[in-house]
């Protein structure tokens, strides 16, 4: 399996302090990679760094050639303003193809077809003309994933994706992500608090508290002290 992102001894941070210190990790093709940690532990900084919005202040970050070409699909945390945004599902999904277009002012046939394909894959094609703000939380999340898939086909970065979803929608969401990961071979990197659901799915766990607390498989993580504390009574 080839490596998509390799970090060795990377620091990420802002002007005068580093939020992430001495991080060594690797995201490979087909990985289901989970980042956990308390609030303010540097998770969001790490996401920004991986997306290329923040350059590392130290160490080396290598992003695979193919990933640099197509970019990384990104599912940001939802903002309050989006909840009542007047936009059709099609408009939102199509905006994911923006980076493929370069400096052309309008979308081509090909990009429109791609948006259609993405909506079909996520089972939201019949919602195409519906208004984003009228959808349920789970449906909105599918729309945003379709948009991310338009932007990139190899890897998705999800930032706290299940916040604000009801339990049923959360289960549906994990099933969908698992499907994308296993059947379509898309590498997943997810930042989440929801440990109970994640341990069974991921193949790599990174526990961050500024520096790396744990990095390895979920099975090992369950045996460490940090893991047991973080999992609460989840697995005892």
């Amino acid at each position: 399996m080839s490596s998509l992102i390799t970090c060795s001894h990377v620091d990420f941070g802002y002007e005068n302090h580093d939020a992430v210190i001495d991080l060594t990790m690797e995201v490979e093709e087909g990985d289901y990679f989970c980042v956990v940690g308390a609030n303010g532990s540097g998770k969001s900084t790490l996401v920004k760094g991986l997306l290329g919005l923040l350059s590392p202040t130290g160490g080396s970050l290598v992003v695979a050639e193919e990933l640099r070409k197509t970019g990384i699909g990104y599912l940001p945390q939802q903002t309050a303003a989006q909840k009542d945004f007047p936009a059709s599902v099609r408009e939102v999904v199509l905006s994911g193809a923006l980076n493929r277009r370069g400096n052309r002012p309008f979308y081509s046939r090909e990009e429109k077809d791609m948006a259609k394909q993405a909506m079909k894959r996520l089972g939201i094609l019949e919602l195409e003309k519906r208004c984003y703000r009228e959808l349920s939380g789970g449906q909105q999340q599918r729309v945003l994933i379709a948009r991310a898939l338009c932007a990139a086909g190899k890897m998705l970065i999800l930032d706290e994706p299940v916040t604000g979803l009801d339990p049923q929608a959360i289960q549906d969401f994990y099933r969908l992500i698992r499907h994308l990961n296993r059947e379509e071979g898309i590498a997943i990197l997810m930042v989440s608090h929801d440990m109970a659901n994640i341990v069974g799915q991921a193949n790599k766990i990174l526990h961050l508290h500024q520096s790396v607390v744990f990095y390895g498989s979920p099975e090992e993580y369950g045996r460490t002290k940090a893991g047991q504390e973080f999992l609460g009574g989840g697995i005892v």
């Binding site: 919005l53 970019g71 007047p86 936009a87 408009e91 923006l98 980076n99 002012p105």
Partner: protein
């Protein structure tokens, strides 16, 4: 019909109509993005800064536009920064800046010339304020705003809908924010002489809010805002001419009427849809 012919026989009214239509259009288009990004307060803040700058310029005998355009553009940068930072309570900060510049304008004016008609017309607007030069500037401004919305439409959408995602896909979000803020600043300075500092921000906020009542896609909201703004402006001007009411206030009332009409249409639509089910 006769009234329209009569109105068009006054050159100052033709200028006011031409300039006003162009400015309403710009304000409405920029307003869609500002309202949806929760930046409506910036429009309001800028109009007060613009009042302060204009009245100080008048008191000092400087050219009003040459002073206030740069000052308001700077204020736009600044307001955008505090809103983006989110650390300071941005709504409170904007309120502070608004009241501060309003007060500065009033004090400087009363110390020098006294409250002249100029200042009062900046406050409540004057139909006579549009000079031929202002109309030319408004035309240039709307050319830029329309170009932005035609050629960069999808990027404007992406930046408005989701800044983080747009940034991750390589859109220069900060540049777009700055462009929108600067264009808004110029729109406000040009428009407030006619609409008045107290009312110019309604041109930014009303059309977008009105259109959002009924339309469900971004494209439809943008089109509708532009059209509603132009129609309301013309109705307001006609009413102002017919009943000799202040132009700015009449336009705002026309916008309020449109908002009420769209709201009612939305409620009736929802009611009928409910019945069908």
């Amino acid at each position: 019909m006769k009234m329209i012919g009569e109105m068009l026989s006054y050159p100052f009214l033709v200028r006011a109509l031409a300039g006003g239509i162009l400015i309403s259009l710009c304000a409405a288009l920029l307003g869609v993005s500002l309202v949806l990004k929760r930046y409506s307060m910036i429009g309001d803040g800028l109009s007060h800064v613009s009042f302060g700058a204009l009245s100080i310029a008048v008191a000092m005998g400087w050219a009003p536009l040459a002073v206030s355009v740069p000052v308001v553009v700077l204020a736009a940068f600044f307001l955008l920064r505090i809103t983006e930072n989110g650390k300071i309570k941005s709504d409170a900060a904007i309120a502070m800046i608004s009241a501060g510049s309003l007060a500065a304008g009033i004090v400087v004016t009363s110390l020098t010339t006294g409250m002249t008609t100029d200042v009062s017309s900046y406050m409540f607007g004057s139909i006579l304020a549009m000079s031929p030069w202002d109309v030319r500037l408004s035309a240039a401004l709307s050319a830029v705003v329309l170009a932005l919305f035609v050629f960069c439409y999808d990027r404007v959408f992406a930046v408005t809908f989701d800044e983080s995602f747009a940034r991750a896909t390589g859109v220069n979000v900060s540049a777009y924010n700055v462009i929108i803020a600067v264009l808004t600043a110029i729109t406000i300075v040009l428009g407030m002489q006619m609409m008045g500092a107290m009312m110019i921000s309604s041109l930014i906020i009303f059309p977008a809010l009105t259109s959002m009542q009924v339309f469900k896609s971004f494209r439809a909201v943008v089109w509708s805002s532009g059209i509603v703004a132009v129609i309301c402006f013309c109705l307001g001007m006609a009413a102002s001419y017919r009943f000799s009411t202040p132009a700015g206030a009449s336009v705002v009332l026309a916008n309020l009427g449109a908002f009420a009409a769209f709201w009612a249409a939305q409620r009736i639509g929802a009611f009928l849809a409910g019945k069908h089910k």
